[in-house]
């Protein structure tokens, strides 16, 4: 279909949408002589269009590139449509002037449908956009541009899905695009140009399969509700990926704090219990042997801190790897969690693990003095050090992903909470020499770690999808953004599938381990070993 005909159809759709405007804004009370009202997201969207349109136009004017020209025309039509809707619903002189200006701008830009003729001057287009923006401000419909307009984008994409008139839907979609392009899109180009291009494609892609077409292209070609919903969901997913890459909206802060606290407390608890098991028999005259073990434990803590600093330096040296770094550290963190959960569930009552420490302790007790240094002293110090450092090393590996994804403050807060819990348990165990319900605590933290694993798998798959390393098949239903922030749950089959598999592996293996153990106990009845005897 010739471009001119398409442009005319666009204008016709625009006029139709304005005829329906009072219906669309029926729920919004008309102002009594005051400034017209419009949702914040629409005002921000119109402002973003007025900023992005002249900027993109200046670039495409240099080459008269057809796709860019179509994009600019669509943005101009969207602006005219939006302002027309406002004006039709709540007439006001300044708004009327702005709407008229937007119509004229859209009409002038129709010239860009033919690349082999003179186009409007970029200077004029910018001047028009600035005048319209000023008129909107006078009409009380101004808005500031945000660097992180994700909520508005999501809401506008929802509006685009729900709008009945194609021109209105296109206006919302173009506003969502402009909000992205004027804010996060600019920063994204520097960190992940491929993802920036993929976000743009989600709105504007013309080539390829029908299902791959951009939202605005789908709307312009009269695609069905399902196809439009699919395109809108894809756009939202890619914008969400961009937010992850830019560190604007990764996993929620509370989730990060909770994850860091759980892992630190869990590993700390294990270390305390191991130390308790080692020192349990150090009573009476042998009580002095506690010191080297606890001293070694402190050294283990120091070594953990040093390892943390080293890991940080290494991650920093890798630069602002953005999504790539998040994905890689995420995979490492998942590996750590699988080791922790697997280790826990398969040795659910610690018998073998603690047995090994007891054997080491007994071997050390047989060591005699050599030279001026007590061999025992050194060996017990090393035992304390290694038992703490093993847990510390795992924790350090795990925490790198949270650090990269969510920054230092949330991670540090989580670490502090986890350490406080660990110190409390250590104080009760070693100082007050009281027993705690260790078994229950281990099971509870084990279950929590399973959940942490689920979230971590979800966010890592999401990062991998952003990089294009893992395919992204939309589920067809949408999930609110908090699901992603809190649970790492995004509406793609790969992400949800990976989370289910991870949970199934961990809890399934636990169930199998329990079943096997129960059968063994039935065959050879014996007393379940206690966790700590200190």
């Amino acid at each position: 279909m010739p471009r001119r005909v398409l442009a005319l159809l666009g204008l016709a759709a625009l006029l139709l949408s304005q005829a329906l405007a009072p219906v669309a804004y029926a729920g919004m009370p008309a102002p009594a002589g005051g400034a017209p009202r419009a949702p914040e997201r629409e005002r921000a969207g119109a402002r973003a269009l007025l900023s992005e349109l002249p900027s993109e136009y200046r670039t495409i004017d240099r080459t008269h590139e057809a796709e860019g020209a179509a994009r600019v025309r669509a943005m101009a039509l969207a602006l005219a449509s939006q302002l027309g809707l406002w004006q039709a619903a709540q007439p006001q002189p300044q708004l009327a002037a702005a709407a008229k200006g937007a119509h004229e701008l859209a009409r002038d830009l129709e010239a860009t449908a033919d690349r082999l003729q003179p186009w409007p001057l970029p200077l004029s287009v910018r001047a028009d956009a600035e005048r319209i923006a000023a008129q909107l401000r006078s009409a009380g419909l101004g808005a500031a541009l945000s660097a992180k307009p994700y909520d508005s984008i999501e809401a506008l994409l929802g509006d685009a899905r729900g709008a009945t008139a194609p021109a209105t839907a296109s206006a919302y979609a173009a506003e969502a695009y402009a909000l992205f392009a004027t804010g996060p899109g600019k920063r994204l180009q520097g960190t992940n140009a491929a993802l920036a291009a993929s976000v743009q494609d989600a709105f504007w892609q013309r080539e390829g399969r029908r299902a791959d077409r951009g939202l605005l292209v789908a709307l312009a070609s009269g695609a069905g509700t399902g196809a439009v919903a699919h395109a809108a969901t894809t756009a939202n997913e890619r914008v969400s990926s961009a937010a992850t890459v830019l560190g604007d909206r990764t996993i929620g802060r509370s989730t990060v704090v909770a994850d860091a606290a759980v892992i630190v407390f869990r590993e700390g608890l294990e270390a305390v219990l191991i130390l308790a098991a080692i020192t349990a028999s150090f009573v009476g005259e042998r009580r002095r042997l506690r010191r080297p073990v606890l001293f070694g434990a402190l050294l283990g803590l120091g070594a953990t801190a040093a390892t943390y600093a080293l890991a940080q330096a290494l991650v920093d040296a890798l630069g602002d790897g953005g999504l790539r770094l998040q994905a890689i550290t995420g995979l490492i963190a998942i590996a750590v969690l699988l080791v922790v959960t697997n280790w826990f569930f398969h040795r659910v009552y610690w018998s073998e693990w603690l047995g090994r420490f007891h054997r080491r302790r007994r071997a050390i007790e047989r060591i005699d003095r050599f030279g001026f240094i007590s061999g025992q002293l050194v060996a017990f110090t090393l035992l304390g050090l290694t038992s703490v450092y093993r847990e510390g090393f795992e924790t350090v590996l795990f925490l790198q992903n949270l650090q990269v994804s969510a920054g230092s403050s949330a991670t540090a807060l989580g670490i502090a909470i986890g350490l406080a819990g660990t110190l409390a348990v250590g104080f009760v165990t070693f100082k007050l020499e009281r027993k705690l319900p260790y078994k229950k605590m281990l099971i509870a933290t084990g279950v929590l770690i399973g959940l942490v694993l689920g979230v971590m798998v979800g966010t890592t798959v999401h990062s991998l999808q952003g990089l294009g390393w893992v395919p992204s098949t939309q589920t067809g239903f949408t999930l609110p953004l908090w699901c992603g922030q809190w649970l790492g749950l995004y509406a793609t089959w790969e992400g949800i599938g990976a989370q289910l598999v991870a949970l199934l592996v961990v809890y399934g293996s636990y169930a199998v381990a329990r079943a096997l153990q129960t059968r063994r106990y039935k065959r050879v009845p014996r007393e379940v070993p206690t966790l700590a005897r200190g």
């Binding site: 900027s55 670039t59 860019g68 033919d114 082999l116 920063r187 520097g190 140009a193």
Partner: protein, 377 residues
């Protein structure tokens, strides 16, 4: 029109030299991918072995940056790719001698902060038969540039004299024919910093009208207001800028790939602003500028033909020659016995413009491969 490119180096640009080997193909040419973003060029720091290098430039989604330049340390542009927008990549080839260069994507956040280090040993200067032919080509092209700039200088002096005298008719008659000399060698002027925009910026290219000078600023007043009043100071500045250009072109040092890159850029100029009627928006003398671009491009290519034949690229040379001839034949149909020598842009129908676009596109395709053939030859 503002910027096309044939990156020309100053005499002091030690980086430039003819390739030593007699290779007839571009198989040894290294390819460097550069992406344009708001920040500028990505990567910002490049290390590459010296020798033939092809830069492939793509736009990563920025509407702020649309070109990449490689400069020597004196700030002279050696090669560049312009008008790189999404979906429209660019490329250029150069033979890099060892040393440090500046990688710049103008208007990016990190302007002039990129670096390129070419490692390895300096190549011996041209020794083979093709090298001798290429050396002759670059020397001859330098003569051509100086000749055209001399004509431009003379014409500009007459043009500005008409402006000072308030002779609108004479100034209008001189405008197109004088500009054609500039259009023929425009890529050369682009390698000298701001000279090109000062002389030839279109109104499309300027951010603020107050900063606009040169031929097109004068054109606007002459045709829109039909007066020379207010153009006098622009005329004086134009003449000074052209005289500076004349002084600078004497110092140029060229390499064969630059001739080929420049030939391509000149034809891009035709596609992007002459066929669209935006070069001479007020006077509609675009076809005269078209002739200037075509002549300059054809001259640069013609000088490379012997080396192309020598290095086994005769088929390519013949294809390009034939396509140049086709474009020229079409353009000749619009010659008129007027002071301008050509029809005004308004005479072109949509069909005529499409025919030109198709022919120029057909020429661009093989012409764009010439630089890589001669950069390592």
């Amino acid at each position: 029109m503002i910027k096309a490119t044939l990156a020309i180096g100053a005499a002091a640009a030690a980086a430039l030299a003819l390739g030593a080997c007699g290779s007839s193909t571009s198989k040894d040419s290294k390819v460097l991918a550069v992406t344009l973003t708001d920040a500028g060029c990505t990567p910002q720091h490049i290390e590459v072995a010296s020798g033939p290098v092809t830069f492939q430039v793509t736009n990563g989604g920025t509407s702020k940056v649309s070109e990449m330049e490689l400069k020597n340390r004196s700030g002279v542009i050696l090669g560049e790719s312009e008008n790189v927008v999404e979906g429209v990549p660019g490329k250029f080839s150069l033979n890099l001698e060892p040393g440090k260069y500046v990688v710049n994507c103008p208007t990016g956040d990190a302007e002039d902060q990129g670096t390129l280090v070419a490692t390895g040993k300096a190549s011996a200067k041209g020794q083979g038969a093709s090298a001798a032919l290429l050396a002759r080509a670059t020397a001859a092209y330098k003569d051509y540039v100086q000749h055209e700039v001399a004509l431009l200088r003379t014409g500009t002096a007459q043009f500005t004299a008409a402006l000072q005298a308030g002779d609108v008719k004479r100034a209008k008659e001189l405008f197109g024919p004088v500009r054609a000399h500039y259009e023929a060698i425009e890529p050369v002027a682009e390698s000298f910093g701001n000279l090109d925009p000062e002389i030839d910026a279109r109104v499309n290219d300027v951010e603020k009208l107050g900063e606009w000078t040169g031929f097109h600023r004068i054109e606007k007043t002459l045709w829109e207001q039909n007066t020379t009043r207010g153009t006098e100071s622009y005329g004086r500045k134009l003449l000074r800028d052209v005289e500076e250009l004349q002084r600078k072109v004497v110092t140029i040092s060229l390499q064969p790939a630059q001739l080929a890159n420049g030939a391509v850029e000149l034809m891009n100029e035709v596609s992007n602003s002459k066929i669209t009627g935006e070069e001479d928006r007020y006077s509609h003398t675009d076809l005269s500028d078209f002739e200037g671009n075509l002549e300059g491009s054809r001259e640069a290519f013609k000088l490379l033909v012997p080396a192309l034949y020598q290095t086994g690229n005769a088929a390519l040379a013949k294809t390009v020659e034939a396509r140049f001839a086709a474009v020229q034949q079409n353009l000749d149909a619009y010659r008129r016995k007027t002071p301008l020598g050509f029809a005004l842009y308004g005479e072109l129908s949509e069909k005529d413009r499409q025919a030109f676009a198709k022919e120029v596109g057909a020429l661009d395709e093989p012409l764009a491969t010439v630089a890589a053939k001669v950069s390592g030859a």
